[in-house]
């Protein structure tokens, strides 16, 4: 942990009307780190990653990415700096093919010529095991393929940090393993990953470190084994 | 000066009531169901012409005619929604093509009216039109008072229906979340059909009020499109109470501008108000 962190969230607060969704969250992610983000429903996970990726702007506190303050930047600027995200409910570009879907971030984040973009799109689809569907319309894909497309597009943003928002919810055991393999392969390329997941087996197996949110506060931060033993976490999940 | 001021406010409130009657159906279809029924004013004009026929040939009071027409409009609404659902909503295609669909419907309605009735102006005359009551310095013409009261009654009835009956609550639920509706055990398509039907039913009543106010010709509805959409937005998209308050605010603003500044600027003031609201507070004056 002697490298400077890729992401540094300092005291972030987010309110909706009178309701405080995030109450002074601190969080750091080191380069190439695999971080699991868990917490009960409504604990603020999605709000937090929205503040990181830019769909929401934090009311207070600071978000730093590779040392640069990005608290107020628009989402596409953050994407350009190297934050990629997948959506919990897949949001493909329905009128385009799978390859064209991936080409959009390649074109807007990268600089390559159309030929380079096409070949890179093929590489990414290969990594995601989607290459056989490259010319299929995105709206014709099934659930697992859509999840992979989400990850493929996020990868196409050339991220240094990838946020995977429940990429495995509703998938079968084999499919979960497939996504996990893909995420590990991505991580091998030096991309830090924040994984939000309800499937404990997956998070615990994947993460090097786990952060637990409850009611807008961070209640635990540590290695998976520690978290499993943490009484606060147990209370948050099981109630009093 | 004071009585001019009071009268301007009174006239504005009555005018606002009339606007509310024209808008409340759109509050349901646009505000709650997300169906951009730009043909709503055209349906109102259809209501005016039907009222005219019933008044002229059967001697019915215009308001009564409007109420009697409402069930027929309800059925038309169910039919229109079914086409809309089958062609657009089910395909997830409603935004662009759905808008264009209602745009086309509006033109077809206008032309059908022109072909049936010609383009001449129609108006109705009843015993109470032309009379007014005086309260202190304030004069309230029945021509405006009747629409105002009818609008309040109609909006109140719809409000009660939405909050007290099962179907009504289902309609409110569909506005929020389709999943919640299914959990309630109601069929979303059926619920939306009924809601859209009610929306069009109000157009019949609003039509009878429109022709009570002044002469009507087939394409007069166009002139009201901007205004009533503005009211739905100002009212917070789907709130019946918000619609009434927004309509009355718009009515009072127009009436005040007309009295004290010059009527020719009143639509610009009203729409400037809308544009400002959209820019500063997109959820409307009373939005969530």
């Amino acid at each position: 942990m002697n490298q400077p962190p890729v992401l540094d969230v300092v005291g972030v607060v987010k309110r909706f009307g009178g309701f405080t969704a995030l109450d002074g969250i601190n969080l750091t992610v080191a380069p190439s780190e695999r971080l699991g983000l868990i917490g009960p429903n409504g604990s603020g996970k999605t709000t937090l990653i929205s503040c990181i990726s830019g769909s929401l702007i934090a009311d207070d506190g600071q978000v730093r990415f590779q040392g640069q303050d990005i608290t107020k930047l628009t989402p596409h600027r953050r994407t350009g700096l190297g934050i990629g995200r997948s959506f919990q409910i897949p949001r493909p570009f329905g009128s385009m093919t799978v390859a064209e879907n991936v080409a959009i971030p390649l074109e807007y984040v990268g600089q390559g010529s159309r030929k380079e973009i096409a070949s890179e799109a093929r590489d990414i689809l290969g990594l995601m095991r989607l290459d056989h569907l490259a010319d299929t319309d995105a709206r014709a894909l099934n659930q697992i393929e859509l999840r992979k497309l989400e990850l493929a597009r996020a990868m196409a943003c050339h991220p240094k940090l990838l946020i995977s928002d429940e990429a495995m919810a509703g998938l079968s055991g084999n499919e979960v393993d497939e996504i996990l393999e893909i995420l590990l392969a991505v991580n091998q390329r030096g991309v830090a990953i924040i994984m939000i997941e309800h499937i404990m087996r997956a998070v615990m197996g994947f993460s090097e470190r786990i952060v637990v949110l409850d009611a807008g506060k961070k209640i635990a931060d540590g290695a998976p084994e520690e978290i499993m033993r943490n009484p606060d976490v147990e209370r948050a999940y099981l109630g009093e | 000066m004071l009585d001019l001021f009071l009268n301007a406010i009174a006239a504005g409130i009555l005018l606002g009531g009339f606007y509310a009657a024209m808008t409340v159906g759109l509050t349901i279809s646009f505000g709650q169901l997300d169906i951009v029924n730009i043909a709503h004013p055209a349906f109102i004009v259809l209501g005016s012409f039907c009222t005219f026929v019933l008044h002229e040939h059967a001697g019915l009071d215009p308001l009564l005619a409007g109420v009697l027409l409402a069930p027929a409009f309800f059925c038309i609404g169910i039919g229109v929604y079914s086409v809309y659902y089958g062609s657009f909503e089910r395909r997830g295609d409603e935004s662009l093509r759905g808008l264009a669909f209602f745009f086309g419907i509006m033109f077809i309605l206008e032309v059908l009216l022109i072909m049936t009735f010609g383009v001449d102006y129609r108006l109705v005359e009843t015993s109470y039109i032309g009379e007014s009551i005086k309260i202190g310095v304030i004069g309230l013409p029945f021509r405006m008072l009747v629409p105002f009261l009818a609008a309040l009654a109609m909006a109140g009835g719809i409000y009660l229906y939405l909050s007290k009956t099962f179907t009504g609550r289902a309609i409110l639920a569909v506005a929020q979340d389709r999943l919640a509706l299914q959990l309630m055990g109601a069929d979303p398509v059926r619920t939306k059909q009924i809601a859209f039907g009610i929306g069009l039913g109000t157009a019949a009543v609003a039509g009878s009020l429109l022709i009570m106010l002044g002469p009507v010709e087939p394409s007069v509805g166009r002139l009201y499109i901007g205004r009533i959409f503005a009211i739905v937005v100002l009212g917070g998209m789907g709130s019946i109470g918000g619609t009434i308050v927004a309509a009355i605010i718009l009515g009072v603003v127009e009436s005040m501008v007309a009295t004290f500044y010059g009527p020719s600027w009143s639509p610009a003031v009203a729409f400037g108000f809308l544009l400002m609201t959209l820019a500063i507070r997109p959820s409307g004056l009373f939005g969530r």
Partner: protein, 419 residues
């Protein structure tokens, strides 16, 4: 893509050929081919009510002429297209009339917006242009062969309301203040310009001068604002729906003024008059023809009888006093000129029309150099003794008495207005 313009040209030629074919087919086997009169008319859109009524009147003229043997021994035929009350259709229509349909004569469609777009085309062909109710169209074009049948007078903008202010100025004691109000649209704005001049000339003080936009649903705030200024005279320039709204609001508020009306369009139409009934009493408004004894010109009653038979089926104004006689008359002027000149030579026709007085169903017409009537005859009439709704009373003399001009006067002003 290259064949694009070619294809369309080809399609147009085909259409033109087909059209010419139908015409040829329709024409009876006569030695002389018919005289074709071409025009655009608002048969749909905002002006269609008037446009359709005008067309009925024009058809009656055509039937009358053809029954009497036609013009120059040739039958008269119309070639007309619906301009949809959309000015941008008009240039195309007149070009087609003149180049593809090869009409012998053209006349205008109804109202200013539809007349002006035809002017450059008609002018480039130097055609005689009889025009139906355009307000001061020729002021900008200065076209010598333009003739306007609307009896506004040589200075249409001011002559229009001259009568109203003459009447006001003649009262004793002379009123001092005037309020002007009108719609935000072409005719009303122009009428207000004239009214402002006339009011200034007659020495009135203008205490209120505002316009309102369509659609104004409730006029009572406007009427109250006018009342607050206490004007002796109120001049209103309005369109049919607002005229009705205005009359109702005036009665509801109880406007206290001495003279009211002027340029309210719509109060001449049966649909509005019949409904507004007694609330019209006392209003002094412009009109072009009313069934008063002073205005029984040759042929007008026979014409109206024919018109009133056809009107109900077409859904247009059942009485037809306002526009239809003039729609008949503008063709009458043209037809008589053709007869007198003995050809359709445009220059000769124009010279003849300019230099002669024409006997028509709307009386004797002669034109000023700018093509307007040489003497204004925008009548000022007052609604009197209207006691109920019902159309019958408006067909009789005395319901709308003519107050101005003096020459056609048929009754006396009931003054002041305030009820």
């Amino acid at each position: 893509m290259q064949c694009f313009s070619g294809t369309r040209r080809w399609a147009l030629k085909l259409a033109a050929a087909a059209f010419a074919g139908t015409l040829a087919f329709a024409a009876p086997a006569q030695a002389e081919k018919p005289i074709k009169i071409g025009f655009s008319m608002a048969l749909t859109g905002g002006l269609a009510a008037a446009g359709k009524a005008a067309l009925i009147a024009m058809e009656i003229w055509k039937d009358d002429v053809n029954a009497a043997g036609g013009l120059l021994g040739r039958q008269v035929e119309f070639v007309y297209y619906d301009d949809q009350t959309n000015p941008s259709t008009v240039p195309g229509i007149y070009t087609k009339l003149l180049t593809l349909d090869n009409v012998d004569l053209v006349v205008s469609g109804y109202a200013t917006n539809m007349i002006a777009p035809a002017m450059p085309i008609v002018m480039s062909r130097k055609m005689v242009f009889m025009s139906l109710f355009g307000l001061a169209v020729n002021e900008k074009f200065n076209y010598p062969n333009y003739f306007q049948i609307m009896p506004a007078g040589p200075n249409p903008l001011t002559d229009w309301s001259k009568g109203f202010f003459d009447i006001a100025a003649a009262q004793n004691p002379k009123p001092t203040t005037v309020a002007l109000v009108g719609a935000d649209a072409e005719f009303a704005r122009n009428a207000l310009i004239g009214a402002r001049e006339n009011a200034a000339k007659a020495g009135f003080k203008i205490v209120y001068d505002k316009t309102y936009p369509p659609p104004t649903a409730d006029f009572s705030p406007i009427v109250r604002a006018i009342q607050a200024e206490n004007p002796d005279v109120v001049f209103v320039a309005s369109y049919p729906p607002d005229s009705a709204g205005m009359v109702r609001a005036i009665n509801e508020v109880g406007l206290k003024t001495k003279l009211l009306g002027g340029g309210m369009v719509g109060l001449q139409f049966a649909a509005l008059m019949g409904k507004l009934g007694p609330s019209l009493n006392g209003i002094v408004n412009y009109d072009f023809w009313v069934p008063e004894p002073t205005l029984k010109f040759d042929g007008v009653e026979a014409f109206l009888k024919k018109y009133q038979e056809k009107a109900p089926a077409a859904g247009v104004d059942p009485l037809g006093y306002y526009l239809p006689p003039y729609a008949y008359a503008y063709l009458q002027v043209l037809g008589d000129a053709v007869k007198a000149v003995g050809s359709t030579d445009q220059q000769k026709l124009a010279d003849y029309i300019r230099s002669h007085t024409h006997k028509t169903v709307v009386g004797d017409v002669s034109f000023a150099p700018n093509g307007e009537w040489a003497t204004p005859r925008a009548l000022m009439v007052q609604f009197q003794g209207i006691n109920d709704s019902g159309l019958e009373q408006f067909t009789k003399a005395g319901a709308r008495v003519v107050l101005w001009p003096e020459q056609w006067k048929s009754g006396t002003l009931k003054y002041p207005y305030a009820q």
